[in-house]
Symmetry: C2
Amino acid sequence: MSKNPEKLQPKLARLNDALESGALEQARRMLNRGLAPVDVAHLLESTPPKERNVLWGLIEPELQGDVLQYLGEDIQTEFLNRMDAQQLVSATEGLDVDDLADLLQRLPNTVTLEVLDSMEAQERQRLETVLSYPEDTAGGLMNTDTLTIRPEITLDVVLRYLRRHERLPDTTDSLLVVTRGDKLIGSLPINRLLVSDPSMLVREVMDTDMVTIPATMEEADVANLFERFDLISAPVVGVESHLLGRITIDDVVDVIRGDAEHQVMSMAGLDEEEDTFAPAWRTSRRRAVWLGINLITAFMAAAVIGMFEGTIQQVTALAVLMPIVASMGGIAGSQALTVLIRGIALGHVSGNNVRWLLNRELIVGALNGVLWALVVAAIAVWWFGDMTLGGIIAAAIVINLLIAALCGTLLPVLLKKLKIDPALSGSVILTTVTDVIGFMAFLGLATYFYL
Amino acid sequence: MSKNPEKLQPKLARLNDALESGALEQARRMLNRGLAPVDVAHLLESTPPKERNVLWGLIEPELQGDVLQYLGEDIQTEFLNRMDAQQLVSATEGLDVDDLADLLQRLPNTVTLEVLDSMEAQERQRLETVLSYPEDTAGGLMNTDTLTIRPEITLDVVLRYLRRHERLPDTTDSLLVVTRGDKLIGSLPINRLLVSDPSMLVREVMDTDMVTIPATMEEADVANLFERFDLISAPVVGVESHLLGRITIDDVVDVIRGDAEHQVMSMAGLDEEEDTFAPAWRTSRRRAVWLGINLITAFMAAAVIGMFEGTIQQVTALAVLMPIVASMGGIAGSQALTVLIRGIALGHVSGNNVRWLLNRELIVGALNGVLWALVVAAIAVWWFGDMTLGGIIAAAIVINLLIAALCGTLLPVLLKKLKIDPALSGSVILTTVTDVIGFMAFLGLATYFYL
């Protein structure tokens, strides 16, 4: 297996050729020996369902577990559900405890129990510790492969102890110093171990001010800590500093990536774990829900227009221009909404400064409202030769942009307080408000002035 | 400085109290000794401009450089522009070369030269190497603090060599093995050094199959490599494997985070480096551009409606229902667009499988189109008591959802080929198409059947 990045693309192309020409033996060899498990996973994720199943069948059982851990949840669940407990046991041998825990959480309970039964006592106990915490907390994210040492030994003893290992756990950048009762009292960074006098005691060299993570901390907060302090790994503790495991940067990177995808995907009502090549039927069902929710809001806007049917019949130019008022409000509102959602996510926005932000957004809404109201009014007057129409649409745009600023600022703050995900529901609610207010202001003013 | 996460919030609250009550001396002490630079930066980013300037003035010059590197580009540029070269030199002492290079790239050239002049020869040469690559490539991202060793020495010599250092560079997880001409030939992971027999030669233990990154590689590809292979650090090389520096995971995490913010922010026409507390005037100017672009597309939709004014005057129910057709198309199109943009970003989508995806999206569009067309038609018939209207809106919705599927799938592929950022322009173009097609199909069919 070569890690040279440029070599992946041609390999995938050759594999595709082999599959298309039916050279299954050759494809099997490439899958099992020519590619890293992470690349096999990538290949599976880039393949439509039918070919994907053929590929999966070609992968040797021992490799399947390795590949599984790199797959998106959607595809993972699909493959997991087709394996029986025996296949699972052999596929998951040698996986890290945190990855294994993630997999097991997607299985029916009876199968999970069978897998647990087949494990060695120590391994099973570790796994059960991880499984006892929700998947999105530090406890669910942690691994139990910690290297612990005692404070009262010398660094020389530590070095000899390490040499007795065949290899150290991946991403080991520090050894954890614990008391006899497994209470965490310090951390010895490997890089400090290497530069210190070997005759010194662990106690004299260890770091006692390291970042420790409570097992119940939410994964987003864990990611924040890793970013703030440029951490590579950090110990996870339970009550009274009892050491439970550690979290490593590679798992944190997955959290950050997942969080970012969640924001983008949920704005379109999609799930971030969704398989790019999910079949049409499943995709249709999932997306229908979001279309249905949006249909309700569209009918609310339609109902507002319906209130003014008489006015539109008299002045059809209103029907021509009304989408402009609604759309400008929607765009301005999303800008405020996006800035606020990001500010909240980054921890910039708190009770103290929301008023400043609201103030700023209202000024921005007023400035851009007046600017674009004048432009739209001028075009409307030129198009329909009607000064009143120009005045009405200008007023409606200013009103709608101010409401958009108000709503775009306060909505995410409110949703956050109600523990509702603003990325998912924020923009639906916002555009409903700007549509309704936009149509109502424009058509309402028109009714007043024309009828 | 304590790293305990729970302690930050009360500290910030106390600092705020000190500022509000005018106890500047106390605030100064807290800023310079009570908080980590990354937390001071966070505090500055969470503060409106006026108070922010007061805070900045309280921070000691030596600390300002440390704080600067953690600030967003927008705020960084603001503070940098207010400092003269002398202040910059003292503020930037002790910064990592990659962070310093990032800062200098935001300064006028004359100031950059002054700062370079004030540096020691070796340090300057390193900085110039980093500055010679664009900021968003591996060369611009790398640091030059590599620890190099020769292949023909024993591990025992390596251990003694390391012990001569007071500390190792941050995030050192491996030593780089080079020839006399600085040609990279291998890597010795620290964790392998620790478990190996000290009498062995570096050559016998080193890893020759490590990931090496060409200096010209784009930062997004670097991030991909780090994620694929769970890397902590990786060497950067120039022509003929000449070692130039190394990239560490903390900088890669920043790239990943920035990339994610870019996607979310640019959908609303915003810049990911934008200061949450940017003043109203600057914010207005920046957002006005996006509103203007959207206004053009809104007028295109209005022009389409204008073509059918006569029909609307006869059947005003059309004006009531037409936003529904446009909005359903917009939502369905964004769903396809979002899935495709993500698929492209993840490398799942390539020439081979676009056809499969287009096919899937068309089926999904047809299924959801028919489902929601029936629902909307039923409501329209019940509302306006007009069977023809029901038939017309049903047909228009099906047509618009099929166009939305086509456009949502092919648009990002096309934009990518034209090297246009699909996150920024994709949804504007898409909603223009679904608005125009939606209004045209609905009002056009109505004109045909009613007039």
